[in-house]
């Protein structure tokens, strides 16, 4: 096991820069999730750490050792791939043990490790099967077994669950978390799936355009997004945004837009530099909007477009002043589409963003 550090790492492909000034410290035994949209550079970062992609500039360390220019086999990392990357002509046992055989590990030790991984991942019945005789979930467990037996300093997961169906994804997510806790190896996990990001990681790294937009514990990133990008990216359905301005009323500040005027709770007020009249964006998570019985000064009035019943929760798509907002409310009797509805929000759960997208709340920190 070992810590991992990236120092000012940059990666160019031709004239395109896909990773810029990437700085990150991953503690020994920590599981860090890199999350972001397509093309944000998350897989490239993982591949640079594995040695599968060269680093244009900057330094990569595993433990105390600089590995920036070392070939993959000298880095002591193991990787689980999105498409499993199992050798089709080898059995599960052959796939799991190949890396050890190439490293000339004694046969008895190989057998011990294969048995150990098979026990943890419940692979015993699969060991003599070839990949084509297995389901996607089984193949992914073999791929994890292959990584585990290497007993590497760092595990790398590159969207390992993306090819699985929703049910299997949930099951495998649980297995990965259990496996990582049990072996305690430092791990970097790349995903675009928020559920995986929120549930698996000790810390989240939110990336956009090759830059870190926020690093923090999943719940902190969710509760206090550092900027509008993170606020919109983390959370399903995404946060609702309303453009408006700040207005001072005696000693208090209020958010004012064409559809809403709402006083800001003291702890949600921006710092002292905020000025009356400053253009801001109000952010409110769908789960922080509730249906109100009657219009009130700080409620949003709109028309229900669509109600998506998901089980315990219903997503109400409401058109307010020409923009569509989503409210996630407990399922129950809901207004019919086309009906006028009122949405109220908890002033203590509002988010404010400056014109440049940065959070105006004092407990949010940009990366």
């Amino acid at each position: 096991m070992a810590s991992v550090s990236f120092e000012h790492v940059r990666k160019d492909f031709g004239t395109a820069t896909v990773v810029r000034d990437f700085d990150l410290e991953v503690a020994d035994g920590e599981l860090v999730v890199l999350v972001g949209g397509s093309g944000c550079g998350k897989s490239t970062i993982l591949r640079m750490l594995a040695g599968l992609e060269s680093v244009t500039s900057g330094i990569v360390r595993i433990g105390e050792r600089e590995v920036t220019h070392l070939p993959p086999r000298e880095r002591d990392v193991a990787m689980v791939f999105q498409d499993y990357a199992l050798y089709p002509h080898l059995t599960a046992r052959g796939n799991i043990s190949l890396g050890l055989r190439l490293r000339k590990v004694p046969k008895a030790e190989i057998d011990r490790r294969v048995r150990w991984a098979a026990e943890i991942l419940e692979l015993q019945p699969l060991l003599d099967r070839k990949p084509k005789q297995m389901s996607g979930g089984q193949r992914q467990r073999i791929a994890m077994g292959r990584a585990m037996v290497r007993e590497p300093a760092v595990f790398l997961f590159d969207e390992p669950l993306s090819n699985l169906d929703a049910h299997l994804r949930g099951q495998m997510r649980h297995e990965i978390a259990r496996m990582q806790q049990r072996v305690g190896t430092t791990a970097l996990y790349v995903t675009h799936d928020q559920m995986e990001a929120m549930t698996l990681g000790d810390r989240l790294v939110v990336l956009d355009g090759g830059r870190i937009r926020q690093v923090g514990r999943p719940i902190d990133v969710y509760e206090a997004p550092a900027n509008k990008f993170v606020a919109g990216f983390i959370g399903t359905p995404p946060m609702n945004f309303l453009e408006g301005r700040l207005e001072r009323e005696r000693d208090d500040l209020a958010f004012v837009s064409d559809v809403l005027r709402i006083p800001l709770a003291a702890e949600r007020c921006p710092g002292p530099s905020a000025e009356s009249g400053e253009a801001v964006t109000l952010g409110v998570r769908p789960e922080d909007l509730t249906l109100a019985d009657a219009p009130a000064p700080a409620t949003l009035h709109g028309q229900l477009i669509l109600a998506e019943v998901l089980g315990a929760t219903t997503h109400l798509h409401v058109e307010v002043g020409g923009r569509r907002l989503i409210a996630a409310v407990p399922s129950g009797p809901a207004p019919a589409p086309g009906a006028a509805v009122n949405l109220s929000s908890d002033p203590h759960r509002l988010h404010l963003f400056a014109a440049d997208g940065s959070s105006l709340l004092q407990d949010s920190h940009d990366a």
Partner: protein, 270 residues
């Protein structure tokens, strides 16, 4: 009814293709009196034609030469062709695109055009009347490189990444990961190369004059041209032709599964 007509047409076509070959095979077992007939069943079965053929020219040695030359050429084309294909398909290096284009361009040059320059080269190297002269010009093959490159392009990148993380170098990746995946295209390239090398006549006629180094088709050609006339001579020549054909037919019979697979294969599954 339509199916019956279809099978009749197929049967007629099969007879048209098979009969000459079966007649040739049957004639090699006939006595001189029967050689002119169209029957496929000899009245008197004899091996005299084979005995005579074996006695009049070193066909045993020629068989060994052909096997050695064709096998060496095939192995060489598979090893060097796949290595070149791997590099062109999966490695990044300056000039890769130019090399790809040059490989395709080589296919556009007719083989006859290079005969004289190649012959001159062989003479200058002092390789006339040697195995090197028979093998070297065919040890590398642009068609093989292109076929294998096309297949290697389909191998997922993650498989190479996994192999590198497992500790493999490029050669090991080629021979222990790519080769097992490429059985079908390798078999196709192998069969085509072996058959091409086995049947080659013109080049051996140019560079080999020593009877002990002659390949089977070469010796057969020389034998046919100077082996006399009449039914006995014809049957003896046909016996020599059978010795030439049988190994290829046997090899194809065993390898045809791979051959058909490679023609039908579209990529890596499962």
């Amino acid at each position: 009814m339509r199916r019956a007509v279809f099978y009749v047409v197929l049967a007629l076509a099969a007879v048209a293709f098979l009969y000459p070959f079966l007649w040739m095979a049957a004639t090699t077992f006939k006595s001189p009196a029967e050689v002119g007939g169209l029957s496929l069943l000899p009245d008197q079965l004899t091996l005299d034609n084979y005995r005579l053929m074996w006695a009049r020219a070193p066909f045993g040695r020629a068989l060994f030469n052909s096997l050695f030359v064709a096998t060496t050429i095939t192995l060489s084309v598979l090893v060097f062709g796949s290595a070149a294909a791997y590099a062109l398909a999966r490695l990044s290096f300056p000039g890769r695109r130019v090399l790809n284009t040059v490989t395709v361009a080589v296919l556009l040059v007719p083989a006859q055009l290079t005969l004289i320059p190649m012959y001159t080269l062989i003479v200058q190297l002092g390789w006339v009347d040697s195995y090197a002269a028979l093998i070297a010009p065919f040890a590398f093959n642009a068609t093989a490189i292109l076929i294998l490159r096309q297949f290697f392009l389909q191998v997922p990148r993650s498989l190479m990444d996994a192999a590198r993380l497992d500790g493999m170098g490029e050669l090991r990746i080629l021979f222990t990961v790519f080769w097992p995946l490429a059985k079908a295209p390798l078999a196709m390239v192998g069969i085509l190369t072996f058959m091409g090398a086995w049947n080659e006549v013109l080049w051996p006629l140019l560079v080999v004059r020593d009877e002990q180094l002659m390949t089977l088709p070469q010796l057969l050609t020389v034998f046919s041209l100077g082996g006399g006339a009449g039914p006995r001579a014809l049957a003896t020549k046909l016996a020599a032709a059978m010795v030439l054909v049988v190994p290829v037919v046997v090899a194809y019979t065993f390898l045809q599964r791979f051959f058909i697979e490679s023609l039908a294969s579209t990529g890596i599954k499962g």
